[in-house]
Symmetry: C2
DNA sequence: ATGAAAGCGCTAACAT
DNA sequence: ATGTTAGCGCTTTCAT
């Protein structure tokens, strides 16, 4: 920057001004400076800028997700990245593997990096560390999972309605013994989805059978294991409603290993669609969250909030759509 | 930091010293400072540190990947993240979607962020922008794809041998008309995999049939489309060797849409395994790249290189293992 | 319209 | 063993 100033015969202050195309700068000197910048291939240091101007212009965002292996989150990430890139924001990726300790450490790092804002799917609704950061003024928008009693935007889907639609569909198709493999109860969406499952049953005068409900830890392995328990029992279900992407895939592994026919011997609907649902055999019926859109909206909300920190909080609930294909 | 110094009754220099646990600091004052840090919940600014000490200790890494939707890259990313996290490095994620312009802009950002090092799967082997950064002294390790005439470490698999093994297996199983759906010829691994495919055919006295080789753009859609062209032709193949994860999934969609039986009517082996290969029906036979391991090794090499910039370059070629399951 | 200078939070000589 | 101080590259008053 010094060199640019020298070459253009001005002070660094003026260079800074044209860089932030702010205030009044003589068109002539502006051109001179621009030329010098080109010639020297000068690139401003985002680090120095960040250090200087405490907030709102450091062009750095944090993204905190529980499991990047879950295709849902990679699509959300893609949505975020799309708007971040367009707005010249870089992204620090924090994958905490649903480990609260790791999450806390990442939050420390993010704070220490002086990010402008954060998009997070927190481990729980009661995340103290995160709530404190919000209170301290960090712009945060949550995706997929909210943050109780905190001033944050939230973009998610109607989990309960989505689950309800899936189970309702199963019932109307004539399935009687519909099992549910859920995720960690500490994750809000797990609870909501189970609730939708129960409501649908009850609305059809079916008493939820505790033996048909298994809660795991939201992983692929839990899907494999719990589906196996369910399907090998004396009174196995005739349909499965699985609580997320990874669980669905795990359950599918078990179903195929047991050589069960879908949907004749066992129907299955998963929460979370996958872009390659048609590559499964049979094509998977699933509750689709508009993941890319969720990420995109979250990104937009965050950028808004950064420039206007006191705008009231918004909760965007998107529709979870049942994509009926062949697995039920 | 100022406050910590005040509270502990020392100068900020001493605080800095215990923070970097360097040099000789009186144990007594050390304890005092540590106590003050605890009490004030002081967290050092990584930004200021980065600004100050030009290189090697900013604790920031860049990761540049072509397509985060490809499960292979997310596993690589997990491997990188694993070692980065352990070493207190944050990661700036750059997903360039095989778009060279976007890649160049991300490289600009990374440079401007003063990263300590970069792990990249560059768009092409001839990436000028990246080569310049290497020349300028940025520690870089490449994954999956190399960088011609440049001083970088490289971690990848033996693509040609992996492809060869897959096609060889197909031939031994008795398949006669083995088609190949490849990826972008500008990507080195695409070329290498096609080469392996051809070698295997030739070694078995089969003349590669140009009509059975289709090159796309490495996407899911290309898999759908090219598989459709191949399978609907007058003289369709009896086996498919697909060039990457996404292509495989796309081809699978077409196969199922056409209600072709695997492997009786059409066998398929994909390059790139997936953690849920068993969830496909039938379970997919695939050439497995140890993706997590690749990421981990790359991360380790990068950290080494950061602390010792002149250590000679290493090329780590891992084995691509044929995972025989039921699709051929 | 432009320049001078202070300072963001830290590290690394150099002094003591 | 510890303190003083000069920057790192930028933004932003305050002068001019």
């Amino acid at each position: 920057m010094n060199e640019v100033a020298k070459r253009a015969g001005v002070s660094i202050a003026t260079v800074s001004r044209v860089l932030n195309n702010s205030e009044s700068v003589n068109e002539e000197t502006r051109l001179k400076i621009l030329k010098a910048i080109k010639e020297l291939k000068y690139q401003p240091s985002r680090v120095a800028k960040r250090l200087r101007s405490k907030s709102g212009s450091s062009n750095l965002l944090g993204v905190l997700v529980p499991d990047i292996r879950n295709p849902f989150y990679v699509d959300v990430l893609m949505g975020i990245e799309d708007v971040a890139y367009r707005n010249n924001y870089a992204i620090i990726m924090c994958n905490f593997g649903q480990d609260e300790k790791k999450e806390a450490m990442y939050l420390d790092i993010l704070e220490s990096e002086a990010i402008d804002g954060l998009i997070a799917a927190p481990a729980t609704e009661y995340d103290q560390r995160l709530k404190k950061m919000v209170k301290n003024g960090l712009p945060v928008v949550c995706v997929d999972r909210g943050l109780k009693d905190s001033d944050v935007d939230l973009v998610w889907v109607n989990n309960e309605a989505g689950a309800y639609a899936a189970v309702d569909h199963l019932i109307r198709k004539g399935y009687k013994r519909i099992a549910h493999i859920g995720g960690l109860p500490s994750i809000p969406s797990s609870v909501l989805r189970e609730k939708g499952y129960r409501s649908a049953l009850i609305d059809h005068q079916i008493l939820p059978d505790p033996g048909l409900i298994r809660l795991g830890d939201s992983t692929y392995e839990s899907g494999v294991r719990l589906a196996s328990e369910l399907l090998k029992s004396k009174t196995p279900p005739d349909a499965l409603f699985t609580g997320n992407n990874l669980i669905t895939l795990g359950a599918l592994e078990t179903i195929h290993a047991l050589k069960l026919k879908i949907p004749e011997e066992i129907a299955i609907i998963g929460f979370d669609d996958m872009s390659w649902a048609n590559s499964l055999n049979p094509a998977l019926t699933a509750v689709r969250q508009p993941a890319f859109e969720i990420g995109k909206r979250a990104g937009e909300l965050l950028i808004q909030r950064i420039s206007d920190p006191k705008r009231p909080c918004i909760q965007m609930t998107m529709n979870a759509e049942l994509m009926i294909r062949s697995s039920c």
